[in-house]
């Protein structure tokens, strides 16, 4: 890791840690951060020699000089107006689809990780508690779950986040609380310079709680590089249900590494929908589900539509530890231009996890000779009475189907768009919020009709 010590980012991280370690809360938290930092130092940023990063070279995205500090204080009037305009434009995009069909969504706006109440429309506290992460340290559930779900071992980015996270969200749904509308979290990133930001979130659903969350990220159109290294821990209690949507759009210069880990209890349902669209330079999603109890279900749906020289990497892990768990993964990719995608899905079925049903499927279409996909499905089973399957396909656009559509007067771009929407259909049809599905289909159409 010698070379890493010489990168400006690594040096500024080390310097920053000295300061941060003196400032943070109680001794327990300081120890957690110190240990995480030691771990990060021993791991260093991953290189392609690391099996988990074999097809994703993150080094080029770390070369810039990044500031580790972002605007933390109250927004100036000018910044507020800018943010309000960004949010309004974004809502016009998203909620155009909501009109008429739906009662809309609650809205939680954060600016560089900090909650902005003036721009938010929040649900009643009895339905869900929303706190800045930094103000949640004394919550009982915080003590119970923070740092206990995310896997730091061999995960340099997660270790770094734990050592140096900026702030984030603490969201807790009380027992039996059923949120009547989706909660739309809009993360606004404002950067005056190249920044490296590290948000940290914790979602806790107490028993029998139910919640739908949509996450989107927006930024201004400056050319600053923004590297987001986020970690989200999720605890889904007994009989709780969490539908978690992550819509990843962006612009050139944006890079994302995120780790989402969920811990599930008996009879719970965690469903994750991760959709990556053209825009950001690079996205690495690490999604890990721990089915640590019996009789529960997880659904992971992914769709990536990549363009330009974009790189989208999805790594999933599903850990079946107890009997009668059910997990279902379906990831679909459409690659345009010279973009690249990686899908690496692991299913582990532990000795005690009899009667597990675990399925995984990844399908990809390459729209260009220069696009590429590396897909690696993995299955490790230590129980003997289980049903598991996995499969991957990589293909090209069906030229006969394209010609058939064109022969009816449909332009090539529109025909390709129809075929991409059709290909994505078995993922998009899983979206439980009709307006969100419309929004996503509109995003696909917008890119297919300009890009392909």
């Amino acid at each position: 890791m010698i070379n890493q010590l010489e990168t400006p980012l690594y040096e500024s991280i080390a310097a920053k840690f000295e300061i941060a370690s003196l400032q943070s809360g109680d001794e327990q938290l300081r120890k957690l951060r110190r240990d995480a930092f030691e771990l990060f130092k021993s791991l260093g940023f991953p290189s392609i020699r690391n099996e988990e990063w074999k097809y994703t070279n993150v080094q080029p995205f770390l070369k810039e000089h990044y500031e580790l500090e972002v605007i933390r204080q109250e927004l100036s009037a000018e910044e507020f107006d800018k943010t309000a305009a960004l949010v309004a434009a974004h809502l016009e995009d998203v909620q155009h689809s909501l009109k008429g069909a739906h009662k809309g969504a609650y809205r939680l706006v954060t600016v560089n990780g900090r909650i902005n109440e003036r721009l938010s429309v929040l649900p009643d506290e009895s339905a869900v508690r929303i706190l800045p992460f930094s103000a949640a340290e004394h919550e009982p559930a915080f003590a119970r779950y923070f740092g206990k779900i995310a896997t730091l071992k061999d995960n340099a980015f997660a270790a770094l986040n734990t050592a140096l996270y900026n702030d984030g969200l603490y969201i807790e749904a009380p027992a039996k609380a059923v949120l009547d509308r989706p909660l739309h979290i809009i993360n606004v990133l404002l950067a005056g310079a190249n920044v490296f930001v590290q948000p940290r979130h914790l979602f806790v659903l107490q028993p029998h709680a139910s919640m739908e969350v949509i996450e989107t990220t927006i930024t201004d159109q400056d050319q600053q590089h923004i590297f987001v290294n986020s970690v989200t821990e999720i605890a889904v209690g007994e009989n709780a249900r969490f539908h978690h949507y992550d819509i990843q759009t962006g612009r050139k210069g944006m890079r994302f590494v995120q780790r989402v880990e969920a811990l599930q209890s008996r009879h719970s349902n965690y469903s994750n929908y991760t959709f990556t669209l053209p825009g950001a330079d690079f996205v690495r999603n690490n999604l890990a589900i721990h089915l640590n109890d019996a009789d529960l279900e997880s659904h992971l749906y992914g769709l990536y539509l990549t363009a330009g020289s974009q790189l989208a990497d999805n790594h999933t892990e599903v850990h079946h530890k107890m009997p009668r768990g059910e997990s279902n993964q379906l990831y679909k990719g459409v690659l345009l231009d010279q973009s690249k995608a990686v899908f690496n899905g692991k299913i582990f079925v532990y000795e005690d996890a009899q009667k597990t049903n675990a399925f995984q499927q990844s399908n990809n279409i390459l729209f260009s000779d220069k696009a590429s996909v590396n897909a690696k499905p993995q299955l490790e089973i230590f129980a003997d009475d289980v049903k598991c399957s996995h499969g991957t396909t990589i293909g090209q656009i069906n030229k006969d189907a394209l010609f058939y559509l064109q022969s009816r007067g449909i332009s090539e771009a529109a025909a390709k768009n129809m075929m991409v929407n059709a290909f994505a259909f078995d993922v998009t049809e899983k979206i439980k919020i009709p307006a969100l599905r419309t929004y996503l289909e509109r995003l696909i159409t917008a890119h297919m009709e300009t890009g392909a």
Binding site: A401, Y404, Q406, R408, I410, A414, M418, D426
Partner: protein
């Protein structure tokens, strides 16, 4: 309407059409018959602009416009329709949305306003009835899980909806049982007018009992070697193609 002159075309260096001539006028139905490998389906492909076909000589014009310069979609917008021998299944694309997109793109090309959902549905109902197409199939994914006969009937339904000038039916009768053949033929006969024309490619005379052609052409080795009226089809049914080949050689 359609004028094909000395057409030479092929796939991957292999010449299949070797100087084909054909004139089609509004209101006419032309049947094209011929042995396997004569170039019947290639002719349909070249007319509709299938990408892997290369035209090496000759011309095709539709009402004076050069079809060969046009993309497949522009040919369709100009009024060429190919009923496929093997219609493609496209899961996830709904039959009705596909047709509405097609119809509105054709209208936009002609400078017409898009059709409203209400008008479109009314038109769709009317045409379903006309060509006896099952309403249940209209809302399914395009051809997905359709039987062979249902696929062919869907082609005729699309034909009814898009109202082309020139419809080419490429072995529409293949794989049809006698009832389906009657329904498909009834549909086509209802759609015939003095403004449109049909080219019917078939192996068998049977279809021509139902859709009576004005002309029957025999295609052999990339050229039309004999032209007659509907009686020529009956003669072919009885005697096969060999006598024509011999006649052509002489």
């Amino acid at each position: 309407m359609l004028s094909i002159k000395d057409l030479h075309a092929g796939v991957e260096e292999k010449e299949i059409l070797k100087g084909l001539n054909l004139e089609v006028k509004p209101g006419e139905v032309h049947a094209i018959m011929g042995p396997n490998g004569a170039g019947k389906s290639s002719l349909a492909s070249v007319l509709s602009g299938r990408p892997n076909y290369e035209v090496t000589g000759g011309s095709i014009t539709l009402d004076g416009k050069n079809l060969l310069d046009m993309s497949p979609e522009d040919r369709a917008r100009e009024g060429v329709f190919l009923a496929f021998q093997y219609p493609i299944e496209i899961p996830g694309v709904s039959n009705i949305n596909f047709l509405r997109t097609a119809l509105n793109e054709i209208r936009a090309y002609r400078g017409e306003e898009p059709m409203s959902a209400k008008e479109f549905l009314a038109l769709s109902k009317e045409k379903q009835k006309l060509v006896e197409f099952d309403a249940k199939l209209v809302n399914r994914s395009l051809n997905e899980g359709f039987s062979g006969g249902e696929k062919k009937r869907n082609e005729i339904f699309q034909l009814a909806m898009l109202e082309p000038k020139l419809a080419i039916l490429d072995e529409t009768d293949s794989g049809l049982d006698i009832d389906a053949l009657r329904i498909v033929s009834r549909g086509v006969n209802k759609l015939r007018s003095d403004k449109n024309a049909f080219i019917i490619i078939t192996h068998y005379q049977r279809l021509l009992d139902y859709i009576v052609p004005d002309f029957v052409h025999v295609l052999s080795d990339g050229r039309i070697v004999k032209t007659g009226d509907k009686n020529l089809a009956l003669e072919l049914e009885e005697k096969g193609y060999d006598w024509i080949r011999e006649e052509a050689v002489r």
